[in-house]
């Protein structure tokens, strides 16, 4: 069993870094460097918020990319459910994307808390946007916990796919909560729907580069994490095969 799993691991290790991941990684580094320089030194401070506005260059992109991650999880889950062969690659992308999404959503809440302390005067308020965002985070932590419950790979994929397709419905609730209810959180500045972007030009440019940077980081992390999950699944399958073989041998010995 040991030799079988190590052979499998070596095969996967050779495939971890590819030209695509290197390109995406390089794009992430360049755009993130732009965001750091632009966010800290090039863009102006805000007339009301002062330098606190610079937190926006992390807060907003991480929120958008967390939404993207959970949507990718839902799409990959739907692909797994709908595909005839139930290719496990879809399930691994779903799991990897949810993991990265949870990290980004936690970053959103953390940076939002710091921003809120400086501008609102409080780290946290039980307002609709903050509460629904916290609930979304807890939902996806639950999704990851369900993935770790055990059972076969197919069982894991099926139950987590169903949860992913339900959980993604929370995203419109989070995004539109500031329009549906009165909220301490401000309304959207860029995705406001009326086409009027209420933001200084260099601030908007840095914000959009931040979105590209965090999206590339997300893609890079998901590609690598999916491959690591593939290795874990291969090890789990080989262990299962070995256990079945041992059991078969025992049964044969008894006869």
């Amino acid at each position: 069993m040991t030799s079988a799993s190590s052979t499998t691991t070596q095969t996967f290790t050779a495939k971890v870094a590819t030209p695509t991941t290197r390109l995406v990684g390089a794009m992430a580094i360049v755009s993130m460097a732009w965001v750091v320089l632009g966010g800290l030194f090039v863009t102006p401070s805000d007339v009301n918020q002062g330098d606190a506005v610079r937190i926006m260059y992390v807060h907003v992109p991480t929120a958008w990319v967390a939404y993207l991650a959970f949507i990718v999880t839902a799409i990959a889950s739907a692909c797994w459910l709908l595909s005839r062969k139930h290719a496990m690659g879809f399930d691994r992308v779903a799991g990897a994307s949810a993991e990265v999404g949870v990290i980004f959503m936690a970053m959103t809440l953390l940076s939002g808390g710091l921003w809120g302390r400086i501008t609102w005067g409080t780290y946290w308020a039980w307002d609709p946007r903050l509460t629904t965002t916290a609930f979304l985070l807890v939902t996806y932590i639950g999704y990851l916990a369900v993935r770790g419950l055990g059972g076969s790979l197919e069982q894991r994929a099926r139950r987590s796919a169903v949860i992913a397709l339900l959980a993604v419905l929370e995203i419109p609730l989070v995004h539109f909560s500031v329009l549906m209810w009165r909220s301490l959180h401000q309304r959207a500045s860029v995705l406001s729907g009326d086409g009027d972007i209420k933001m200084d030009g260099s601030m908007l440019t840095t914000l959009l580069v931040g979105v590209i940077g965090f999206t590339c980081t997300f893609a890079w992390l998901v590609m690598h994490r999916s491959r690591v999950l593939a290795m874990q699944d291969a090890v789990q399958s080989s262990q299962l095969d070995a256990a079945l073989q041992d059991r078969a041998s025992e049964s044969a010995g008894l006869k």
Partner: protein
Amino acid sequence: MAVLVTIVLAGGTIVTKFLTSAIDYYCNVDEIGLRAGCEAGRRIRVQGTVEKNSLTAVNNSTNFVLIFNEKTIRVVYEGDPGGIFQECIPVVAQGRLVGDVFEATRIEVKHSNAYVADNADRLTKAEAQECSPQAG
């Protein structure tokens, strides 16, 4: 299983806190005593703009007038509200109306969704800083 139970409890706590905070986070100044949930005698959150030239600090007390839809209310808060609290900015004050004074125990600043450069031209900057009693 313990992890799942913890997560379910966390989700339940969030929903409970949200519902007890009321789905609408605040009442506007002109709704006090008129709208359900905004009764004068109960603990409420009130939203309005800090009226220009109304802000005073006496000892440790911050006094100001909140305005919304031309309706005003005097607010007293013990301490420094913090954040970017200033005149002409929308805030949410949490507390209770005692007589004709709103005794606030918590002040939250509600900044707008407009981001204007501090070095913008004077007209743009003035527009961003002007009092907007309809905020919210």
